[in-house]
Amino acid sequence: MITIYQQKEKQKAGMMIISIIVILALSTIWFSGCVQQQGQSGEAIVLIGRDSTSGTREFFWTYVMGKANFSASLLEKNSNGAVQQTVAQTPGAIGYVGLGYVDSTVKALKINNISANVQNVLAGTYPISRDLYMFTKGNATGPAKEFILYLQSTEGQAIVTQEGFVPLQNTAHYNTSGKTLSGTLTISGSTTVLPIADKAATSFKILYPGLTITVTGGGSGAGISAVSQGTADIGMSSRDLQTSEQGKGLVKYIIGKDGIAIIVNPQNTYAEGLTLAQLKSIYLGDITNWKDLSK
């Protein structure tokens, strides 16, 4: 008789399964041990900032940092919205965005004990604020000129206010005075200015139905280079021209003001306000834990 029938090997199989489970358990424990060293997540400061070509970042870097280098652990986001969204998702995060991007998902900190809001920017007491610009190649003409005039009017400035930015003072009403415009108008650039331009374009089109308007983001640098190359009629920017961008015949129009809000996660209980000096130390990487703030 030959043996071709299977023998019972259940016992051995059971042993093997048990040892595999033990091994898995051991490695899980070891792995979680490693992870625990990372510490309490809400306490470590996660620095969020804009990418290196953003107007907001350049302003922040010049004004708050005094052109000192950011901490190497700064995480870059390519739009204000991305910064806001990341701060809203991350307990220990801190970030800087245009005032218009502050909503209930994040908490804006007081700076030098001044709240970040439109009134304080207008009053000049809120310390981190800047102008918002539109650039054209040569003096604005045609639809571009009308659009900028519209933005600078009372109607345009109402949109600026609506979007949470700071309006210009002493504006007049916009008057179409029977003009008709046609053709296309291309606007691109700063993501900070984008919501204003987008809304203004919608209502501007009601005034001039024959006009096609394209509004795109991309950032201040992209907008300025687009307008100087002629691929856009208007460049939006949240910063002034850099040296490399000067001398290309660009003309600047101020369309409003913006405060830069310092935002943290709503769960953050360590800070309600910061001084400019504290803010700088945080972004320099000198302070890396929210607990160290109170020291």
Partner: protein, 254 residues
């Protein structure tokens, strides 16, 4: 001869590939230490039948088998029978030489290695013995560690025979082992078969009637999935009982 004498015995074996029935009620017995040839026209089921003996049809999807095959009076298709154990006892050589893309040595040692033999001296011994039994040793002893793919077709087929001998089976199934070879290589393999019969039971599927007549002791003639006639080779070729067999043997069709 009684059923006790038979090494392999099938009982009303039926086989389907999906919806198509390939074997009908095959009942035959194979005697030990003899060469049994399965002949018949293409598509008659002879390859299918030989692949049943070592459960090689298990590999093919949608293949269904009823009936029984006894090996040493043990049913190899019983649910708890292990195909791997069956194949250790019943080796197989295929139509096309199929050495693995490994060295000659590795090809022959493979069967022993998978059964857990790791001792190098023991493996060397097995390789040498198997290659000698397959009449290949002298041709390859100086290049055991070269790729088997560099051998000629006939050498490759003998290597495959050596591979199947290496695990010391009782039966060797050969599925048209010479169909891809030239006459000289074929003659070598045929010589080899006659020698193998002393130690092993050989079942060979062949297209070539002269080959069946030359080497086999028993011959089974199959047609359209049915076993038409089975008997001693001499009787089948010289005095077939069935008309179908006679037609085939005399070349009137097929």
């Amino acid at each position: 001869m009684t059923s006790k004498d038979k090494l392999i015995r099938t009982e009303t074996l039926n086989l389907w590939y999906g919806e198509k029935q390939a074997l009908y009620d095959i009942t035959l017995g194979i005697l030990p230490n003899k060469i049994t040839a399965l002949i018949g026209p293409s598509g008659c089921g002879k390859s299918t039948l030989i692949r049943c003996f070592n459960r090689m049809n298990d590999v093919i999807d949608k293949c269904k088998i009823t009936g029984k095959i006894f090996f040493h009076e043990t049913d190899i298709y019983r649910p708890d029978a292990d195909a791997v154990e069956v194949r250790k006892k019943i080796g197989m050589v295929f139509q096309k030489p199929n050495p693995f893309p490994k060295t000659i040595y590795e090809n022959v040692a493979y069967g022993s290695k998978v059964q857990g033999i790791t001792n190098k001296n023991q493996l060397d011994e097995i390789v040498e013995k198997s290659l000698k039994n397959a009449a290949l040793w002298d041709e390859v002893k100086d290049r055991l560690h070269e790729s088997a793919m560099g051998l000629s077709g006939g050498q490759q087929q003998r290597l495959c025979i050596a591979r199947s001998l290496s695990i010391e089976p009782e039966v060797i199934l050969m599925d048209e082992p010479c169909s891809a070879l030239d006459p000289i290589a074929t003659a070598k393999i045929e010589d080899l078969m006659t020698g193998l019969k002393k130690k092993y039971t050989v079942i060979i599927v062949t297209h070539n009637m002269q080959q069946a007549a030359r080497v086999s002791d028993y011959t089974a003639y199959m047609y359209l999935g049915k076993l038409i006639e089975f008997g001693e080779t001499k009787q089948i070729f010289e005095n077939p009982k069935e008309e179908l067999t006679e037609n085939y043997i005399t070349g009137r069709f097929g």
